[in-house]
């Protein structure tokens, strides 16, 4: 399943990299890309192993808010 998560405005390229790495390491994630300028995370994941809510928690755990 592919989903896009809109985050609060990202202000440093490092933040984008951090979120991307964390998402990729999360179980069940097939691929993850963070669009820095758009502040969006595009994730493809196996819905039998994880869920959108679970992945959103990964991002909030790093201290970034999710817009939708």
């Amino acid at each position: 399943m592919k989903k896009t998560i809109q985050m609060e405005e990202l202000v440093c390229p490092m933040c984008a990299q951090k979120i991307e790495t964390a998402l990729r390491k999360a179980p069940g994630v097939i691929s993850a890309t963070v669009l820095y300028n758009a502040s969006k995370a595009k994730v493809e994941f196996d819905e039998t192993q994880t869920s959108l809510e679970e992945l959103m928690r990964v991002i909030t755990a790093l201290g970034y808010e999710i817009v939708r």
């Binding site: 490092m14 951090k18 300028n37």
Partner: protein, 628 residues
């Protein structure tokens, strides 16, 4: 909330407290000579603004990156260690203030594409039950939840939530965001509607055909968002450079320390050599340029395509639909038979299976003629159509087609055809059972703004312009002459156009090809920059390096101008960043630059590159004058 979130919430109060403490410390130190309270204030200010920097530096280190924050942290801590509390407080404060202003201005620069994303539909009305005599029940759902095949209700003033086909009702939809068409378009059963467009009046029931990320609107947004992150070769080079440069600065500072034995000089090097403006200068130019383009219906697909497009020195145009309106009309009919109606009807039957623009023109022209079904019909590429209609053999096409069948042109037809071609019309011959029976002259109006914008692009320094077309040579020459295009070639097949482009590239030209995106896709793909004029069609969006929402030449000229300005700003920013660092370092070794002053200038240079990029967002004055 995690402490990262707290850090963010406290950032601003911390920054201002640090500022206030520095002012207080200066008052104590300068005018009252209270050294100890002054130092205490400086130290507190350093703690308030320095700790967040240190935090970011450590975070980056965990990702094996030597960040600018690390340079600043070492410098500030070093200043503290040698008792220069005021320097360390100032450096930390200025760096934080700079980052804050940087974020503010970055936000502004990025916001250009927000106007586009805000058009996204939020909800949709799904029809859940159709009752008797047209009564129905609806439920409001999230636009993301719409599925293919859903029947949706669109109310007056509502946004259309997915791409789809109108089933019932009628109204006017404003489609400027997709097709660039400024006037609202009439929509009735069978018409296609786009997600993200607005129903100005009326009400529709529609069936969703494409949903979510597959709609044209979503594709446009995704394209712009990805473009802003797509780096040009220059940027990739800078990224690589910064990766080695930043740790190298630490080594340089260590070397300075060893050579001069002065800690203050060494830590000043750390601050002055920060590549801050360098790493931000190039991407910010692209973000601003792409954002500006998105506002004006010009979608640049990233740093790479901006660079190549800006270097264009040869513009190659297709004719039909690119320089002309693309809806040719039959304007002259010459008969060489006693039964012209019959000949026209047979020709129409042969053309019915063709999607060639000239065939469409003949069909429109023959709408009144009796309608026949062709028993067989086939396309002869680059020539026309062969068909059997009512047991009669009909040929519709150019002279080449007639020659292939050994049909000779009557002298009168030959003369009249040449005359028509000299006027710039396309000609179509109709032969029935081996005899030429009719000649049609078809012409296509030039786009109103074509000549003006071609002149504009020439004035911008595009040296070579070329018109390539499958149409007859004299019609092509006529169009080229009328538009001021010095070079043209007619009667080309798609592979011939490709060959011409390859030949130009072999001569070292940077070629931009502008076509309709349907029958010239090989040329489009081979050129350095391919632009399909397709008003929001999938073909145009997928195949173009630069997408023009409005398929006109003004957009093309504007896109070229924007790409060039973006590249210019990018190089200006790099020059500014490099010269700032060079001047600061020279100043340091001449003994006239202090650490805090260096930090101030450094932060100023970062703001300067952002502001320079923001110039791209300001509409040019020239345009305002043109449209009072």
């Amino acid at each position: 909330m995690k402490w990262n979130a707290w850090r963010k919430r406290l950032a601003l109060p911390l920054l201002w407290s640090a500022g206030a403490l520095i002012v207080l410390a200066a008052v104590f130190g300068r005018w009252m000579d209270w050294t100890i309270p002054a130092s205490a204030c400086y130290l507190a200010a350093f703690a308030l603004s320095g700790v967040p920097i240190l935090f970011r530096a450590v975070q980056a280190l965990r990702f094996k990156t030597v960040s600018i924050e690390l340079l600043v942290s070492i410098a500030a801590v070093g200043a503290c260690a040698i008792g220069e509390f005021n320097e360390s407080a100032m450096v930390a404060f200025l760096f934080q203030l700079g980052s804050f202003l940087e974020q503010k201005t970055m936000k502004k620069t990025r916001s250009a594409i927000k106007t586009l994303t805000e058009l996204a539909p939020a909800t949709a009305w799904r029809i859940v039950k159709n009752g008797e005599n047209g009564a129905f029940e609806t439920e409001e759902i999230d636009a993301d939840e719409v599925e293919i095949g859903d029947v949706l209700l669109v109310k007056t003033g509502g946004k259309i939530a997915s791409d789809g086909v109108v089933l019932k009702g009628e109204g006017y939809a404003a489609e400027a965001s997709i097709t660039g068409e400024p006037l609202a378009k009439h929509k009735a059963a069978g018409d296609f509607v786009y997600a993200g467009t607005l129903l100005d009046s009326g009400s529709l029931q529609m069936r969703a055909v494409k949903v979510g990320e597959d709609t044209t609107f979503a594709k446009i947004i995704a394209l712009v968002e990805q473009a802003q992150d797509a780096k040009s070769p220059v940027e990739r080079w800078i990224d690589r450079f910064a990766k080695y440069y930043t740790p190298a600065v630490i080594l340089l500072a260590a070397a300075v320390l060893l050579l001069t034995r002065k800690i203050d000089t060494a830590i000043t090097v750390l601050v002055l050599a920060c590549p801050g403006a360098l790493v931000i200068g190039a991407p910010i130019a692209n973000v601003a340029g792409i954002g500006r383009g998105a506002q004006e219906g010009v979608l640049l697909k990233g740093g790479d395509s901006i660079h190549t497009f800006a270097r264009t020195d040869t513009l190659v145009f297709d004719k039909t639909g690119t320089l002309t309106e693309g809806t040719p009309e039959v304007c002259v009919q010459k008969d060489y038979t006693a039964e012209p109606e019959k000949a026209l009807a047979l020709a129409a039957a042969a053309e019915r299976v063709s999607d060639h623009p000239l065939a469409q023109a003949i069909l429109r022209y023959a709408a009144e003629a009796p309608s026949y079904e062709a028993e067989s019909a086939q396309t002869v590429r680059g020539c026309g159509m062969e068909a059997v209609v009512c047991t009669r053999r009909a040929l519709v096409g150019n002279q080449r087609l007639m020659e292939r069948h050994g049909i000779e042109l009557p002298e009168q037809a030959d003369r009249e055809m040449e005359a028509l071609q000299a006027e710039g019309a396309s000609t179509v011959l109709i032969a029935v059972d081996g005899k030429i029976q009719m000649l049609l002259g078809i012409s296509d109006r030039l786009k109103a703004d074509a000549a003006e914008n071609i002149a504009r692009m020439k004035a911008m320094g595009v040296k070579n312009l070329l018109l390539l077309s499958g149409d007859n040579a004299s019609a092509v020459a006529k169009v080229a002459a009328g538009l001021g295009i010095p070079d043209c070639r007619g009667e080309l097949l798609p592979q011939d156009k490709l060959a011409v482009i390859r030949e130009l590239q072999a001569q070292g030209r940077v070629v931009t090809f502008v076509g309709d995106g349907i029958n010239d896709s090989p040329a489009l793909a081979a050129s350095d920059t391919g632009i399909a004029m397709g008003s929001g069609t999938d073909v145009a969006i997928d195949n173009s390096d630069v997408v023009l929402i409005r398929s006109d030449l003004e957009s093309l000229a504007r896109a070229l101008n924007l790409a060039r300005r973006t590249v210019r700003v990018l190089y200006e920013n790099i020059a500014l960043a490099v010269s700032t660092v060079a001047l600061l370092l020279a100043g340091l070794f001449a003994g006239s630059v202090h650490m805090s002053a260096g930090m101030l200038i450094h932060e100023a240079s970062i703001l300067a590159v952002i502001l320079n990029a923001m110039r791209l967002l300001i509409p040019s004055r020239k345009k305002k004058e043109r449209k009072p």
